[in-house]
Amino acid sequence: MDFDDTPEEAEFRLEVRSWLAEQASAYSLKSFDDLSFEQQLSLGREFQARKAERGYAKITWTQELGGMGGTPMQAVIYEQEEEKYNFPTVFFAISLGMPIPVMRRFATEAQQQRYLKPALRGEEVWCQLFSEPSAGSDLGGIRLKAVRDGDDWVLNGQKIWTSYAHISDFGIIVTRTDPTVAKHKGMTFFFVDMKSPGIEVRQIKQAAGGGEFCEVFFSDVRVPDGNRLGEINAGWSVAIATLMEERFAVTDAAGGGAQLEDTMHFLRRELGEGDGGLDDPCVREKIADWYIAESGINNFYARLLTGLSQGQLPGPEAALSKIVIARKLQAQSADIMDFCGPAGAIYPDFQVSRANDYRIAWLEAAGYRIAGGTDEILKNTIAERVLGLPGDIRVDKDIPFEELK
């Protein structure tokens, strides 16, 4: 039993490390607060282009496709190393996480030639147009209509919560093409040019203050039939394939919140030792709780990675990490605010870097528990697909979509 890399893995890690260290001075900033959104994005694009040049943007893809022909383990090693810095990669996470792998799987040869590499280089950004006002967890409930007209389809309706739609060049989208059949049988999958006439994108201000997700309105948007991914009315299976793509990301067990080491230094600095400070038993117990959860996730990853390095892909059990990380982030951030007393609510000050700001993390965690599958949906996944408990009763399964409430 060990945590060691194989010699090949170690060699790759060194290579990645030295490359990242070279990039850090130009692209990894302690804080991006001083840059405008446009500046951050263009810095991100520059870094992404360099990454793609090395094949690091899609490590497991062949060189022809823009990758480096690496193993899933190498992809994880790269992520582990990149995560130690603060590179502006967030704009491309969804783009390369789901839409682009789906294009790779379902688009024609010529389309792949055209679209994959610009996305890997960050020149073009893709979004995922799935959720609608009346369909989130229940993706099968989408209504946005696509009607055939000659060689085109005409799209009408609305998508919502689409992350980064406002900076996206293209999007993948699930539409309703046959409302006369059961909900999962009448959907078709396309990719759309976000610059098409009739598309209107409005940013939605989020609870935490950011505007990274949008609502997207479609009015008579024409999409060529050539943009269809999969068969007509077989969009559900493409959508499922997309959700499965959710690559196995070894996300930071701190969930983007404060690192424990920094937090302990912060507490000592601001609260001292003694009662109410780092020697307070209440404080100490919470620190232990956070670490136990964090260590549980890190060691869980170590077990999954052991399988991965032997060629086994993780199964549905991997869903547990987001449940644990998001809840822990929320609880830990609130605990830190508690320790700070009334000042815990005061925002912002400049005693902590933005990356370590528990007040921001506390709010963001609320969204993290919803995005990409809610806690409840993930628990269903574990109960049904890991433990083999019965599925929920579905009252709408066999009813034509147009007759549903």
Binding site: F3, Y291, I292, S295, S309, N380, P390, G391, I393
Partner: protein, 376 residues
């Protein structure tokens, strides 16, 4: 990255599992539970001894099989799964650990071979009634080669032939002492506990002959206390494996019941309140397992992180097992609260293991102390 047990270790686990399934299913724990006079299952212990299990982690030079901690971990998991009512943990995780780490060569030569052949059952006595012994809260004294005072509760006190005892010496320093329990100045008494399938008792010493273990870390001033901590850390990891074995058994039992029991025209396992509860149990078990592996790694490699890894493994395992055991009762409904159903056996064991070598609050303190050492 190879954060898993080897194929050999896994087949040892399978072998242990098959033996326990065939020879030591829960009916054995139940016999001990029902009969106040039985402190353990003597026949199953004898069979284990014949298989060499008593000496599994004792080096060959002392007559054992000489396997390592990782092997002990996978066996512990199965012992926990089947609630084996045998002095495996007292003898191997506590008594042998103390001797292997702290006894003189002569003492090891003398004591370990009979342990390996099952002629000697051992235990460790540290608690003294309410509370957990701190460095300044040890009442039992070791003076002029003799022990005075009272220890309780002590696991397997009624059946152990020898013990390692936490005491203070003439210089008021904590020390661990070895003694033979079959001597007149040792009085034993049986104690009733919430988990009667693992016997506990009290040991009172009226000038019992004993020998201090001084070979740990060159006999420095602190060495007795450090040796005790070292034994607790090893035991925390090994018990964590018993706990995850038990927690897994609870989840399996609850899941199976939930699939088969019908209410309102559907399996109770189709209600989300039950599905989500069992998903939560699964998550807790996986975190505990992952942290237990971390402890196993630290123990097996002699890593300096052992105190951190052991404390994390212990707290995680306590939480997972207690949650799994109590929700297993809940999922079973009224049936879960009967003497006849096995749910309460796990419930009892989960509680007694949560207490035996110090409860979660104590170990959480260690987590934070170790983090402070690491970070601040």
């Amino acid at each position: 990255m190879n954060f898993d047990f080897s194929d050999d270790q896994k087949s040892l686990q399978d072998e242990t599992h098959r033996f326990l399934r065939d020879r030591c299913d829960l009916s054995v724990a139940r016999i001990v539970l029902d009969d106040q006079k039985q402190a353990y299952s003597e026949s199953v212990w004898q069979e284990m001894v014949e298989l060499g299990w008593a000496g599994i982690a004792i080096p060959e030079q002392y007559g054992g099989i000489g396997l390592g901690y990782l092997e002990l971990c996978v066996m512990a998991e199965e012992m926990g799964r089947f609630l084996a009512p045998v002095p495996f943990s007292s003898t191997l995780y506590l008594f042998c650990e103390a001797l292997l780490n702290g006894a003189s060569e002569t003492l090891k030569q003398e004591i370990l071979p009979p342990v390996a052949t099952g002629k000697l059952v051992g235990t460790m006595a540290f608690a003294e009634g309410f509370g957990f012994p701190g460095r300044d809260r040890i009442g039992v004294r070791f003076e002029g080669g003799k022990l005075y005072g009272d220890k309780w509760p002590v696991a397997d006190a009624m059946i152990a032939d020898a013990a390692v005892v936490l005491a203070v010496n003439e210089d008021n320093k904590p020390c661990l002492c070895f003694l033979d329990l079959d001597q007149e100045p040792v009085h034993r008494r049986q104690l009733e506990s919430v988990d009667p399938s693992r016997g506990q008792g009290g040991l009172e010493f009226f000038g019992a002959e004993a020998e201090s273990l001084t070979a740990f870390e060159g006999g420095s001033d602190n060495s007795g206390w450090q040796l005790f901590q070292r034994v607790l850390n090893s035991a925390a990891v090994l018990f964590a494996f018993e706990q995850i074995g038990g927690a897994d058994a609870c989840l399996a039992a609850a899941t199976e019941f939930a699939r088969e029991r019908y209410a309102f025209g559907r399996p109770v396992g189709s209600f989300q309140a039950i599905k989500h509860k069992l998903a939560d149990v699964y998550v807790g078990n996986q975190l505990a397992r992952s942290n237990a592996y971390y402890g196993a790694w630290a123990l097996a490699t002699g890593a300096e992180e052992l105190p951190l890894a052991a404390s994390v493994a212990r707290v995680s395992a306590i939480q997972a097992y207690e949650y799994a055991a109590s929700e297993n009762v809940q999922v079973h409904g009224g049936m879960g609260f009967t003497w006849e159903a096995d749910c309460h056996l796990y419930l009892r064991r989960s509680r007694s293991l949560a207490l035996l070598i110090g409860s979660s609050g104590l170990w959480k303190k260690q987590v934070t102390r170790e983090l402070e050492r690491k970070f601040v």
